[in-house]
C-alpha cells in the first residue's frame, strides 16, 4: 500500500472509531442505558449521561490525546523512541509537587477555588523542573544518551516515590484515600471544569506542537546538524520542554498518573506509518484519545459494578508492550 493510502486509511479508521467508542462508552456502565435515553430519558438518566459520563469521557479522551502527543514530542526532543514523560520522571516530579500541594496546602488551608487552581500549577512547575534537570544530567557533547536518560528517570522516580510515600505517611486518612486513588489514575471525579481546562490546553498547545513537527524531524539528525540545517535548536527545545511540562502538569493534576500512553501510542503510530512527526503528532493525539477511551471502558466493565483505576489498566497493557519493544530493539541490534 502506498504511503498516502496508509495515512488516509489511518485517519479514516481512527476518526470513525472515536465517535463509535464515545457512544458505546456513554451508554455503557454500571447502569446500561438504551440509545433513546440520549434525547428522551428521565431526569436521572440525563444526569448520568450529561453530568457523569460525558464529562468523564471527554476528560479521558483529552488526557489520552495530550499524554500521547507529549510523549511523541518528548521522544523527538530526546531523540529516543523509549522516552516517555512517565519513564523519564517528568510525571513523577509533577505528581510529587501535586501531592505536596494536596497534603500540605489544601489539607491545612482547606480546598477553596484558588487552592484547587494551585494544584495544576504545582504539577506544572514540578514537571518542568524535572525536565530541565533530566536534560542537564543526561546531555553530553553529542546529544542526550538513552542510558543516562533512563537512569536519570529511575533516580527521579525513586525520589518522587519516596517523597510521595513520606507525604502519604504524614497525611490524615481522608487525604490519604484521595491521594492514593488519584495516583492510580482517577477519572471518576471528572467535571465540566476539568473538561474546560483540558480543552483550553489542547486548543492552545496542540497546534503549537504540530507546527514544530518539521523542526522535530530535523532535530532527529542531531542537535548540531539540525542547527546547520536552520533549526533554532535551543529556542525550539526550550519552548517544547515548557509546553510538554505544562501539558503533563495539567493532565497529572486532573487525573493523576496514567502511565505508558505517552510511550505506547506514538510507538504504534510509528509502526504503521513511520516516524515523520508531521503525521505522528496529530495522529498520536487522536489515537491516544481513542486508546484511553477504550482503556476506560475496560476499567469500568472488567470488574463491574466495581471500577478499576484507569492507570492500572494502562499499566497492565503498557508494561508488557514496553517489554516487547525493548527486547525487539535489542534483537534488531543484535542482528546487525
Amino acid at each position: 500500500m502506498s504511503n498516502a493510502r496508509v495515512k488516509a486509511s489511518f485517519w479514516i479508521v481512527v476518526l470513525m472509531l472515536l465517535p463509535l467508542m464515545m457512544l458505546l462508552s456513554l451508554l455503557n456502565g454500571s447502569s446500561a442505558l438504551p440509545l433513546t435515553d440520549l434525547w428522551e430519558g428521565s431526569d436521572l438518566t440525563h444526569r448520568i449521561l450529561y453530568e457523569l459520563r460525558l464529562p468523564r469521557i471527554l476528560v479521558v479522551m483529552l488526557c489520552g490525546g495530550l499524554l500521547a502527543i507529549s510523549g511523541a514530542v518528548v521522544q523527538a526532543l530526546f531523540r529516543n523512541p523509549l522516552a516517555d514523560p512517565g519513564l523519564i520522571g517528568v510525571a513523577g516530579g509533577a505528581a510529587l509537587a501535586a501531592v505536596t500541594w494536596q497534603v500540605v496546602v489544601s489539607a491545612t488551608l482547606g480546598a477553596g477555588v484558588w487552592l484547587s487552581a494551585g494544584m495544576p500549577l504545582a504539577a506544572f512547575l514540578g514537571g518542568m523542573l524535572v525536565t530541565f534537570l533530566v536534560i542537564r544530567i543526561a546531555r553530553n557533547a553529542s546529544g542526550i544518551s538513552s542510558l543516562m536518560l533512563l537512569l536519570t528517570g529511575i533516580a527521579i522516580n525513586t525520589i518522587a516515590g519516596a517523597g510521595i510515600a513520606g507525604l502519604k505517611y504524614l497525611s490524615d486518612s481522608m487525604t490519604l484515600r484521595q491521594v492514593t486513588f488519584w495516583l492510580m489514575g482517577n477519572v471518576q471525579a471528572a467535571s465540566w471544569w476539568a473538561v474546560l481546562l483540558l480543552l483550553i490546553v489542547s486548543i492552545v498547545f496542540v497546534p503549537v506542537l504540530v507546527r514544530h513537527a518539521a523542526a522535530l524531524n530535523i532535530l532527529l539528525l542531531g542537535e548540531q546538524q539540525a542547527l546547520l540545517l536552520g533549526v533554532d535548536v535551543e529556542k525550539t527545545q526550550r519552548r517544547l520542554v515548557v509546553i510538554t511540562a505544562l501539558i503533563v502538569g495539567a493532565v497529572v493534576s486532573m487525573v493523576g498518573l496514567i502511565g505508558f500512553v505517552g510511550l505506547v501510542v506514538p510507538h504504534l503510530v510509528r509502526l504503521i506509518n513511520g516516524p515523520d512527526n508531521r503525521f505522528l503528532l496529530p495522529m498520536s493525539f487522536l489515537s491516544g484519545a481513542l486508546l484511553l477511551l477504550i482503556a476506560d471502558l475496560v476499567a469500568r466493565n472488567v470488574a463491574a459494578p466495581a471500577e478499576l483505576p484507569i492507570g492500572l489498566i494502562t499499566a497492565l497493557i503498557g508494561g508488557p508492550v514496553f517489554l516487547f519493544m525493548i527486547s525487539y530493539r535489542q534483537r534488531e541490534r543484535g542482528a546487525c
Partner: protein, 250 residues
C-alpha cells in the same frame, strides 16, 4: 570569502585549535589533511559557527559568523558533519528531503532537487527503504544527497567532514567528481579526507594540520611532499606517479 583570523578554541582544558589563520576561497576545492586529533573537525565546526572562538574570529564576507542568524547561516553554508546519529526509521527520501527545511520556505528549490540529489548519490533505488536498515556506506550517501538538497544558488560554501567514510571506491569517485564540479562552478568546497592520493587528484588547495595548528597551506604539489607528510603522520610516506596521477603509499 570565508576567513579564520587568529582562531583559538579551547575546550575541557585542552587547546583544540591554536592560532589558526586560513582563507577558504569562494571557488575551488579545499582539502584539510592531518592525523587523528589534529583538529580538522574542530576547525570545520569553528568555520561553520558551531564552535565559538575563545580568541580571534571566523568571518564570512567580513561578518563575524556568530552574528549571522541561524537560518541565514544555513542558506550560506551547507555542512555535513562526521557523526550522523539518526536512529529513527525514516524512508531514505524523507531523510534526503530534510535538506530542504529552510530552503523550502526561503527559495523554493525546484521540485526535482530531491530526486536529482538521490540520482547523483545513487540512492534512487533505495528511496522507499527504511534508513535504519541501510549499510554504512548507503547511509552516508543518503546524508550526502541530503546535503546536496540543501545547496541552492544562495549557498556560498559546502563543508564536509569525512564524506567518503564507509563509501566504496566507485562511489568515492562519484562524490569527489561531483564536489569538484560544484567547486569549479563557483561554490567554495571544504572537505576533510584521509586518502592522500584522492586529495592530490582533486584538491585545488591543501591545508595540512597537526596538533591544533596549521602546518602549511598551498597547492597539493607544495604541501604534499613526502618529507612533510612523513613527519606529520609519523610514518614513512612515499610518492610516485602512475598514468599521470600522483599516488601516495607507505
Amino acid at each position: 570569502m570565508l576567513k579564520a583570523e587568529s582562531l583559538v578554541v579551547s575546550r575541557y582544558g585542552s587547546t583544540l585549535l591554536n592560532d589558526i589563520n586560513l582563507d577558504i576561497k569562494p571557488q575551488g576545492l579545499h582539502v584539510i589533511l592531518g592525523p587523528n586529533g589534529a583538529g580538522k573537525s574542530s576547525l570545520l565546526k569553528a568555520l561553520a559557527g558551531l564552535l565559538k572562538a575563545d580568541v580571534g574570529k571566523v568571518l564570512l564576507d567580513t561578518v563575524d559568523i556568530q552574528n549571522i542568524g541561524i537560518s541565514e547561516r544555513s542558506l550560506s553554508l551547507s555542512v555535513l558533519l562526521q557523526e550522523q546519529p539518526l536512529d529513527f526509521s525514516f524512508q531514505v527520501e524523507e531523510v534526503v528531503s530534510m535538506g530542504a527545511y529552510i530552503a523550502d520556505k526561503a527559495l523554493q528549490p525546484p521540485d526535482n532537487a530531491i530526486v536529482d540529489a538521490m540520482k547523483v548519490m545513487d540512492v534512487m533505488h533505495l528511496a522507499k527503504r527504511d534508513y535504519t536498515t541501510l549499510s554504512g556506506g548507503e547511509k552516508q550517501r543518503t546524508h550526502l544527497a541530503r546535503l546536496l538538497v540543501q545547496v541552492t544558488r544562495k549557498t556560498a560554501y559546502v563543508m564536509l567532514d569525512e564524506p567518503l567514510k564507509a563509501i566504496d571506491l566507485k562511489h568515492q569517485i562519484t562524490v569527489m567528481q561531483h564536489l569538484k564540479q560544484m567547486a569549479d562552478e563557483g561554490t567554495g568546497v571544504l572537505l576533510i579526507v584521509h586518502d592522500l592520493s584522492l586529495a592530490a587528484q582533486f584538491a585545488d588547495t591543501v591545508t595540512l594540520m597537526d596538533k591544533g595548528k596549521i602546518v602549511q597551506t598551498g597547492s597539493p604539489d607544495e604541501v604534499m611532499q613526502p618529507e612533510i607528510l612523513s613527519s606529520v603522520f609519523q610514518t614513512q610516506i612515499n610518492k610516485t606517479e602512475a598514468l599521470g596521477q600522483t599516488l601516495f603509499f607507505t
